[in-house]
């Protein structure tokens, strides 16, 4: 039953129509069938997944109270530490590292009985928009294997869209959940900053990073969101507030009387015609469902990309200093009498890929005395202006919307030699991260010119994540009824499918 949804799997498990062991095995078989082509996984944890599944089946047989996703398999982005399981963040510098502890997200998944199938591929340290920057080779888009699945959580998105897992965890620093969700025709949510603990999430840019859920439906995504969110004393930036009622919102889907703001700056030039066509069509649907569509002006968004590519590299140049070849990870250049400094230099040269080096150098430059105010300082002020633009916009509308990505999935290699072209992939997703608010991407259909998935982005104020799910559910229901099924059912079979 791999082609159903997590909520249907959950129901079948509860009714005893299938065991978690059988369901997990079906997904492991699917991975064995198609992952040679998709390359979504860096590590498949077969034995442990089957053992977790057997434990859930035993608990169920014993009549224990189980969570809604107990026994349902999941794919985990390799940026999250899982005790005893190889965790690389897509980097050669962490090849073979097995964390001695669980990240909070993993601990929550385990206590909810979710079965972790394995670790998924990603751009190295989450730096990228195509998963081509992985130290272990790219992931391929299940819709067209010559194209990227987006990134940086491309492995997780591809696994869900190729039916290798019904749900997955990603992380989103500048769009790394929403953009791959858009490019692979699934749902992805970046929760409000601080809503999901960052304890055990390998840091890229600490003021922007946030883990979040992927699913094939809005409801599945909400169910996973509810499991991983919540206050954690181990993360000093974790929010001490109740988790928004996202599952209830996903079951409601009522936009009557809601005001939906279209951001003037996130459309038009640079956006593919088929992306815009699906976006405007979705707006018409929301309007026909009783929402009021208004246009909002966010002039500082034009500078969001520039601010992001100063703030994130600056933070990463500091965060990645921990990879020093001393306590864990790779160590090279240890010739007789080699100093610690030369070992560090040699290890970081061998262990980091091109894009990571590029960003560390850019961040080092932006933070150096003499340039600090002009670059990092100005970027921080732009960040304030973006927060203010959002505040004004949210006074005029309950949620804001835009296309998730200006383009559909691009070819492998198409942008890998041009950093600026690659950075533009995140132009519509980055403002959410800079403001610390929440955003969702859900499928809006296929672009006419290339038959590839288009994502519709919804944004809501901090800790109003339930608004994403409410609006997302309303739009999804209308689109599914129009299409006669979920968009993902139109995805190619990849051979070997049963």
């Amino acid at each position: 039953m791999i082609k159903t949804t997590a909520s249907e799997m959950s129901l079948a498990l509860a009714k005893g129509e299938i065991t978690s062991v059988a369901l997990t095995q079906q997904h492991l078989d699917r991975i064995a069938d198609v992952d040679k082509k998709v390359k979504a996984f860096l590590h498949v944890d077969t034995d442990s997944a089957l053992a977790q599944a057997a434990a859930v089946d035993a608990d169920r047989a014993a009549g224990k109270a189980l969570g809604p996703l107990a026994g349902v398999p999941l794919a985990l982005k390799d940026v999250l530490a899982q005790e005893g399981v190889p965790t690389t963040a897509g980097s050669k510098i962490l090849q073979g590292w097995k964390p001695p502890y669980d990240s909070t997200v993993v601990a929550k998944l385990k206590s909810a009985g979710v079965v972790i199938l394995g670790k998924t591929n990603m751009d190295e340290f989450a730096m990228g928009s195509s998963t081509e920057n992985s130290g272990y080779g790219p992931t391929f888009n299940p819709w067209d294997l010559t194209r990227t699945p987006g990134g940086s959580s491309g492995g997780s998105a591809a696994a869900v869209s190729a039916f290798q897992a019904p749900i997955a965890i990603g992380s989103d620093t500048g769009g790394s959940i929403r953009q791959p969700a858009a490019l692979t025709g699934i749902v992805g949510v970046r929760p409000t900053y601080g809503a999901v603990s960052r304890y055990g999430l390998i840091a890229y840019s600490s003021s922007l990073d946030q883990a979040g859920p992927f699913g094939r439906t809005v409801l599945d995504t909400a169910m996973l969101h509810e499991i991983i969110a919540g206050y954690d004393p181990k993360d000093a930036t974790s929010l001490k507030v109740p988790v928004p009622a996202v599952v209830a919102a996903a079951k409601s889907g009522d936009v009557k009387g809601l005001k939906i703001g279209v951001i003037k700056q996130l459309q038009g030039k640079g956006y593919q015609a088929g992306v815009l066509a699906r976006f405007y069509e979705s707006l018409e649907i929301l309007s026909s469902l009783g929402a009021e569509i208004v246009e909002v002006d966010c002039p500082s968004f034009e500078y969001a990309l520039a601010a992001y590519y100063l703030i994130a590299p600056s933070e990463c140049s500091s965060n990645l200093a921990r990879f020093d070849a001393m306590r864990y990870g790779l160590r090279t250049g240890e010739a007789d009498g080699a100093s610690a400094e030369s070992v560090m230099n040699s290890t970081r040269e061998a262990g980091f890929g091109r894009e990571v080096k590029r960003r560390i150098i850019l961040g080092t430059y932006a933070l150096s005395s003499g340039y600090y105010d002009a670059y990092y300082g100005s970027a921080q002020k732009i960040r304030t202006l973006i927060i203010e633009d959002y505040k004004k916009a949210f006074m005029q509308a309950d949620v804001l919307v835009s296309p998730t990505s200006p383009i559909t999935a691009f070819k492998i290699g198409e942008k890998s030699e041009d950093p600026i072209a690659m950075y533009l992939a995140d132009v519509a997703t980055i403002p959410v991260n800079l403001a610390g608010i929440c955003g969702m991407s859900l499928p809006a259909g296929l672009a006419d010119e290339d038959n590839l998935p288009v994502g519709f982005q919804i944004m809501a104020p901090a800790m109003q994540d339930q608004r994403l799910y409410n609006v997302g559910a309303a739009l999804e229901a209308a689109l599914v009824s129009k299409w006669g099924g979920h968009l993902i059912s139109k995805a190619p079979a990849l051979g070997g499918a049963k």
Binding site: W97, K98, P99, P100, Y101, Y193, G194, S207, P233, A236, T237, E302, Y303, A306, A307, L310, S317, A321, D324, A325, M326, R327, Y328, G329, L330, R331, A338, S339, A340, E341, S342, V343, M344, N345, S346, R348, E349, K357, I361, L362, Y365, A366, S368, A374, Y375, S378, A379, Q380, K381, I382, R383, T384, L385, I387, P419, I420, Y423, A435, G436, I437
Partner: protein, 99 residues
């Protein structure tokens, strides 16, 4: 047009503790101009009087009681170490020659 020379990139790489091949230095220097032009857009606006935001939330120091809590054992903490000795991380020489 911004630019960064090969030597400036080499200096930054040394500060960031990344040994770079000549080819990498030259490549990075050639790409840096367009990257700096793109990010320099943050200087186009008049930002006088605008406060800087370093973080999306108002952060405060968080304290807890000073009591011993469970933590990693020495073996767990050392489990990923490239080299260890007597329950400690063994690192390459960090000071100059003693003699």
């Amino acid at each position: 047009m911004s630019s960064l020379s090969r030597d400036e990139v080499a200096k930054l790489a040394a500060l960031a503790r990344i040994e770079m091949s000549e080819e990498e230095l030259v490549n990075l220097a050639s790409q840096f101009g367009s990257i700096l032009d793109a990010v320099a857009r943050v200087q186009e606006l008049n930002l006088d009087g605008v406060k800087a935001t370093s973080h999306p939330q108002p952060l405060e120091n968080i304290f807890r009681e000073d009591v011993v809590l469970p933590s990693l054992t020495p073996d767990q903490a050392l489990s990923g170490a490239p080299a260890q000795e007597d329950q400690r991380f063994r690192v390459p020489q960090i000071l100059g020659e003693a003699e």
